[in-house]
Amino acid sequence: MILKRTSLSRRKVLRGAGATLALPLLEAMHVSSMAKSSNVIKPPVRAGFFYIPNGVVQTGWHPKDTGPGYELSPTLEPIRPIKDEVTLFTKLDRVKVAGTDGHAQAGACWLSSAAPDELSPAGYPLKKTIDQIMAEHTGQVTAFRSLELSCNPYEDNRESVYFDNISWYGHGHVARSLRDPKKVFNRLFGIKQHLESGSILDLVMDDAKSLNHSLGKTDKGKLGEYMDSVRTVEQQIERVTKRQEDINKLKLAEPVKPWQAMTRDEFIQVMGDLMILAFRTDLTRVATIMSSPERWGSPLKVQGLFEKPVDHHGMTHGQGNHHVRSKLAALDHFHIQQFASLVMKMKDIKEGEGTLLDSMMFTLGSGISNGRLHVYTDLPTLVAGRAGGALEPGSHIKSPKGTPIANLWLSMINAMGLKKGSLGDSTGKLKIS
């Protein structure tokens, strides 16, 4: 099934999930935090990350040529309408650290700011992920520091936390994602629930402080995570309260359809819509979406694409066979299509003198390039948007062999307004404009 792009597609999809949307515009929201010059609002830069697991079929992914006029590969075909808004990066690598599961590391460490030799106790080169580094900065003004979303459709308990999360506050401290669009909606727009929570925050914080001195070192760290989270929530409540009026104006209704009953494309699009809404209302400027968790060898229905449930991970192992490979490429194509739909929606949203997409850095990628070989070199990476001018999209940028993806992350962090000279194993900033 291919979603038709119409100017109303976002409304349709949200309605499919039960939400109606009164098309709020950034201008309509009197956001004190935004820079205003005369009558024109300069929209802030936002970063979104869209994760696809298990890598991609390499032969279907790579275009033959580079530069601005490159010819799209079959898998990338869905970005044709927005080709000028998207940058394709190739030959960016991560260093795989032996000793832990290759898939868990691919997902959990995709955005990690750790160098390969900085290992957490669990053995992963995992520390604060770049979305959280950005969020620390942008979260000083937005109601929500960041938004972590997952379209993980599996109801079993097959894999560990490392397969199911790409965003981390630090090692061992996961920025847990939400799977239920209703919960996401209520978190963003359910003012009442935030206000009610506020009253006992001091109490629980005092309880935490008094608990602290009886704890050992590791436990103190754990409680520290909790106290940080309480402070974040405290701030959130304060800021959501300030935005109360704006938010009430939106008159949004929560999605009706349960996520368990959604088709794959519905689920991903609804989550994407919620992310877009959060950006448009400037409730947050950083978000991550996992389109699916890493590995998770359980068969899954992808409506409109395959007749029978498919095991994405299993297929990556069978891609030596051309039948399997073509099915796998179709699944890659599907994911790109989902990404492209969201990019098109961003492009349709007017903001200031341009569109939402102009202020975006919306990155699609995987922490593994080839699911059969389990290698982390030449990671599939697409970035849509112009980051308020920091990005000059439309090209295929092929880096020299051995370029760490940390170079791209470093450039993106700087595009968000942070001044950072290095990150993990970065060797310099990647030229993105």
């Binding site: 079993d156 097959r158 939400l178 009610e196 309880d207 436990d219």
Partner: protein, 1054 residues
């Protein structure tokens, strides 16, 4: 009760027989026969013992016991002094034998001893031989009022300097009329001064004492022939040991037979307790075919215990012995049972070794001492599980390594599996890389190395290598000895549900939990000891996930916490609290008490808790009193004034704002259950000591989360509050109570489900066209009929738990719980005839019935359809996934992750078979690469053994194409089997494999952390007890709760 009957045996002292208890060695027991809660702990007369400094005080009124006294190791010890005291008025006491687990494992040699007060010698001759270490029992008679008199000098420790940290006193006793041991003071010396009077002693530190019980074989646990079955005797009084005896009936001339194992040749006393009643017969008792008692008449007009049969001086050799009761006649007054049959009831057999052999100088024949960690009391028992060891040095072993190992692991830069043995050629090197050492022991134990096609080690070489490396490992554990610390963890959503349910006294769950696969619970009555034959249950696997269901309006759970890669979802390092979790806890706390249904759902509402204090002006003191119990329960800690004050202030504030008392109390509840003190499970760990016992409250909390996944209840809190939980007797009775509470169902729901990884069945999608019978159309929807197989292993687990059977039934059970439809689905080539794919079952609830299984290819968790389906691909089986599951779940040896580049195999076995080869042949052909073979050789046979089961777990004699199935294989190099029954046989013959794995899984669950090498001695110890009890479920959980890692915590390093 055992103790009562024992008292009638006159004042013969019962000595702990050195493991005369059933010892398994190579004997295969029928685990199906094991049944009945042995309640071993309650049988013991555990005296109250308190440790004060270097002194152990015995406050109870019991007369005897076996003490294992441990203390911090004293390097260089040359002697030990034990200062004895008994109560003034008593006249009579005995110490039988003392041994120490010192470096050389020799018998302890007492340097000095005192009897205080006393002794007044009535027999100089006896006194002259006191403590001389021979096997006689000495009795000292004392008079009160005699002044302190130093005991005489006795023996010395063995040559060289020793590291003593443990003494075992095998019997300190008196009798009903006479004395008892009251006090032991332990001092150690490193002084070698010959003049004992001038020797200096110092006090031991960290003294603790463990008390052992009697060895007793319950009739109902003995392997028995013919028509025997356990019978509960609780209806006839409480005098039967464990309230149960073994009942047998037969015709005159028939015999009931059993075997017992003796592991030390010696002279024994037998004490046999039988039952008498009006339909009981007359029996001759035979030992190994020789009559040892004639015409024991068990007739009695009423049901009661028969006089104890005491037989002394029976010389018995090490090994198996046959005990039989031959029905030889009947009392003239006896009435037959069933026409012409007569009964026998065996309560217990107790065997006492009257001449315990001198302890052999044992084990430490390696160049390193054997394990002497604090938790290693049961060395004698453990020895049985550990192959014998040789004295061997690294120098002797190096040539073997060089000739047999280096060619792949060290020579010419060849380091297969990244193991370079040549690089680690010193003792220090092996101690430093202890993981490597453990790996070497494993590959030797399981005969994985050298590879099959290489020249094998001779038995002598094998023994030398394993002796050396075991010695290293033991030494490492001893030297390190620090347990891995647990990490403070928040409750997962299952635990949060149970805790809130119990704290707020709710009638049921807080929110629907998919974790509760079986939705019914009323049938689960562990205290009854019997599990229903037929159970009607509803389950979530079939009911449509209850997507939108609420129990309390507006209350929904947070997302499930995922399991650790090889563990459970209760590990602190993976349970963090992000802002979203803070929000979730705040929202839950609020929405629960404010749900419209709350008032009718919580029994707290009508309790005094919601009644305002009865006075006009409510004082802070009243509020404090009002809240204290609730806060103590919620936070599982003694009340801390500043915490109390916070909540009183909060309540006071709400009241002053004009809120009603009830409304204000609800707000306080919200705050309390939103507090980190509620949803974090933490232990105080800021002390300086590395390891220390848990506090009373911490121990209570660990217990309740292990058994109930919930907070302690009022009774458990009260024994924490008065610290009596630290008394082993009280502790044991609480453990028993928790296990017998219906709330212990969480062990099945939370532990068993995760251990078996059963959740994976939910997403299994057998191909619809190929496996139509997995599905069933109901109305216009296709349901997964096969999902109900998920219930089967859970009910098996629960029945083992409730009936206290052997955990070996999880490997091979002769019964199972199935619905009629499932039974047909398993067994009929075309289940349900024409009704193949429509309305085959009710989606609301199903009736599961206990069925005796006709074939051993069925039964147990490995061959359950749930397991077999969830480890298959949609269109074929996956021997590798199945093998990996067996390796992980059954052996707790998860295979390493596969290499990066693995060749693909067709996803449909029809495609493979078209080429005339089987899946097995296809897989084997793919593993030509040596690096693949070394791992797959271990994993695959476990999966190939299950090839007779198709991708949805149904039996097949051949593949669809008619190709033959080859299910043969071998485990650990040498144990060959032909099919799945052979695999089960191998597991049953080596019960220690599965038992160890199960203990490790469960201990890890109980502790909320991963185990490491330092837990090994504790696991060994639990295993030896579980082996001796043939795998009884209650022994597993009870021994876990008594283990060192469970009762202690380790401070986190700064």
């Amino acid at each position: 009760m055992f103790f009562r009957s024992y008292m009638r045996l006159s004042f013969v002292l019962l000595i702990f027989p050195f493991l005369v208890a059933m010892v398994l060695a190579d004997t295969v027991f029928d685990f199906h026969e094991i049944r009945g809660r042995k309640a071993k702990v309650s049988n013991l007369s555990l005296p109250q013992v308190v440790v004060k400094g270097s002194t152990i005080e015995h406050l109870g009124t019991d007369h005897d016991g076996f003490y294992s006294i441990t203390f911090d190791p004293v390097p260089g010890a040359t002697g030990i002094e034990l200062d004895w005291a008994n109560e003034g008025g008593y006249k009579h006491w005995t110490i039988r034998e003392i041994e120490a687990y010192a470096k050389f494992g020799t018998k302890l040699d007492i340097v000095a001893g005192k009897v205080v007060p006393g002794p007044a010698r009535t027999s100089d001759k006896a006194f002259a031989n006191a403590f001389d270490g021979d096997d006689e029992t000495f009795t000292y008679t004392t008079q009160s009022g005699t002044t302190v008199a130093p005991q005489r000098t006795l023996l010395e420790l063995g040559p060289g300097s020793n590291t003593i940290d443990r003494i075992r006193i095998n019997d300190v006793a008196g009798n009903g009329d006479n004395g008892r041991m009251q006090k032991i003071t332990v001092r150690i010396t490193t002084d070698t001064d010959k003049d004992l009077a001038t020797r200096k002693y110092f006090d031991t530190t960290n003294l603790s004492v463990q008390i052992f019980g009697e060895a007793l074989m319950e009739g109902e646990t003995l392997p028995m022939n013919g028509r025997s079955r356990p019978q509960s005797m609780s209806g006839y009084g409480d005098q039967w040991s464990s309230d149960t005896h073994l009942l047998w009936d037969g015709l005159i001339g028939d015999s009931m037979e059993t075997t017992i194992m003796i592991d030390n040749s010696s002279e024994y006393n037998f004490h046999i307790q039988l039952t008498k009643a009006r339909d009981y017969g007359q029996f001759d008792l035979y030992l190994n075919g020789k009559a040892i008692a004639k015409k024991i008449d068990l007739y009695s007009p009423s049901v009661s215990l028969a006089d104890a049969i005491n037989l002394s001086g029976l010389k018995m050799e090490k090994g198996q012995h046959k005990v039989s009761f031959k029905l030889v006649g009947k009392n003239i007054k006896a009435t037959p049972y069933q026409k012409n049959r007569y009964l026998l009831g065996l309560d217990f057999i107790k065997i006492v070794n009257m001449r315990p052999p001198a302890k052999e100088s044992k084990a430490d024949l390696t160049d390193i001492s054997p394990p002497q960690t604090k938790d290693h009391a049961a060395t004698t028992e453990s020895k049985l599980l550990v192959p014998s060891q040789l004295k061997v040095s690294l120098d002797e072993v190096l040539p073997i390594l060089a000739s047999r190992c280096y060619s792949c692991h060290g020579d010419n830069d060849k380091v297969k599996g990244k193991v370079d043995l040549k690089a680690v050629s010193t003792r220090e090197g092996f101690l430093k890389d202890i993981e490597l050492t453990q790996k070497i022991i494993d590959v030797l134990t399981f005969k994985e190395m050298p590879p099959e096609d290489e020249k094998q080690l001779t038995p002598q070489e094998h023994l030398m290598l394993s002796s050396l490396f075991r010695g290293y490992l033991d030494h490492y554990i001893k030297a390190s000895g620090t347990l891995k610390p647990t990490v403070m963890r928040r409750m997962n959503r299952y635990e949060y549900n149970n805790s809130v349910r119990d704290l707020l006294q709710l009638n049921g769950d807080v929110y629907p939990l998919p974790e509760k696969v079986i939705r019914s619970s009323s049938y689960f009555k562990p205290s009854s000891g019997s599990f229903p034959k037929s159970i009607r249950i509803s389950n979530r696997a079939l009911g449509k996930n209850q997507i939108e269901q609420h129990i309390l309006t507006g209350v929904s759970p947070f997302a499930i916490d995922l399991q650790s890669e090889h563990g459970f979802n209760n590990r602190g390092d993976e349970l963090s609290v992000s802002p979203i979790m803070v929000e979730a806890f705040l929202k839950l706390g609020r929405s629960i008490v404010n749900a419209p249904e709350f008032d009718g759902y919580s029994n707290l509402i009508n309790s005094i808790f919601f009644e305002p204090p009865n006075s006009e002006l409510i004082t802070r003191a009243q509020l404090e009193l009002h809240l204290s119990k609730f806060i103590e329960k919620a936070f599982r800690k003694p009340i801390i004034p500043d915490v109390m004050e916070r909540y009183v202030n909060y309540l006071d504030g709400e009241l002053k704002n004009g809120q009603s008392f009830e409304q204000s109390m609800k707000k306080v509840i919200t705050a309390i259950i939103s507090s980190p003190r509620f949803f974090y499970i933490s232990e105080q760990k800021n002390g300086k000591l590395k390891s220390q016992p848990l506090s009373a409250y911490e121990l209570a909390t660990r217990l309740s989360f292990f058994f109930w996944s919930s907070i302690p209840d009022d009774e458990l809190l009260s024994v924490a509050r008065d610290r009596s939980i630290l008394d082993p007797k009280v502790y044991a009775s609480q453990v028993k109570r928790l296990l017998e509470s219906p709330k212990s169902k969480s062990i099945a729901e939370n532990f068993a489900r995760q251990w078996l990884r059963l959740d994976q069945l939910i997403t299994a999608v057998p191909d619809f066209d190929r496996f139509q019978i997995y599905y069933s159309r109901i109305g216009c929807e296709q349901w997964k009929f096969g999902l109900q197989t998920m219930i089967e292993p859970l009910l098996l687990f629960e029945s083992i738990m409730v009936e206290d059977r052997s955990i070996m039934l999880l490997v091979d059970s002769n019964y199972s719980y199935r619905t009629d439809e499932m039974q047909s689905w398993y067994n009929d080539p075309l289940p349900f005839g024409k009704r193949q794919n429509a309305n085959r079952f009710s989606t609301n609830s199903q009736t599961f019935t206990r069925r005796t299984l006709p074939s051993r290819r069925e039964g147990g968790v490995i061959t359950s359809a749930a397991t077999l389906t969830m480890t298959s691909e949609p269109l074929r089986t996956s021997p590798i996934r199945r093998g990996a599951w067996v390796a992980t779940v059954i052996f707790n040896k998860p295979p390493p992750p596969p290499p990066d580049d693995i060749p693909e195999i067709e996803q449909d076995d029809a495609e493979i078979e078209k080429k005339g080869i089987t899946l097995r042949q296809r897989l084997v052909a793919h593993q030509e690469n040596e690096s693949c073979v070394s791992c797959h050789k271990k994993i695959d046979p476990l999966g190939f053994a299950l090839e007779n089961f198709d991708a949805i777990g149904r039996w097949r004699d051949t593949y669809n194409s008619g190709l033959e199935i080859d299910a043969s294989g071998e485990i650990f190099g040498e144990r060959k089997f032909n099919d799945v029954i052979g695999l089960k046989d191998t597991l049953i013959k080596n019960p220690q494999w599965f038992m160890r794995s199960f203990i490790e899984h469960m201990l890890s669950y109980a502790l909320g952390r991963e185990l490491d090498i330092n837990d090994k001695p504790s696991v060994d110890k639990i295993l030896s007890k579980v082996m001796a009890d043939k795998g009884k479920f209650s022994t597993v959980v009870t021994e876990i709760t008594k283990s060192y890692p469970f009762m202690n915590k380790t401070n986190q390093s700064e």
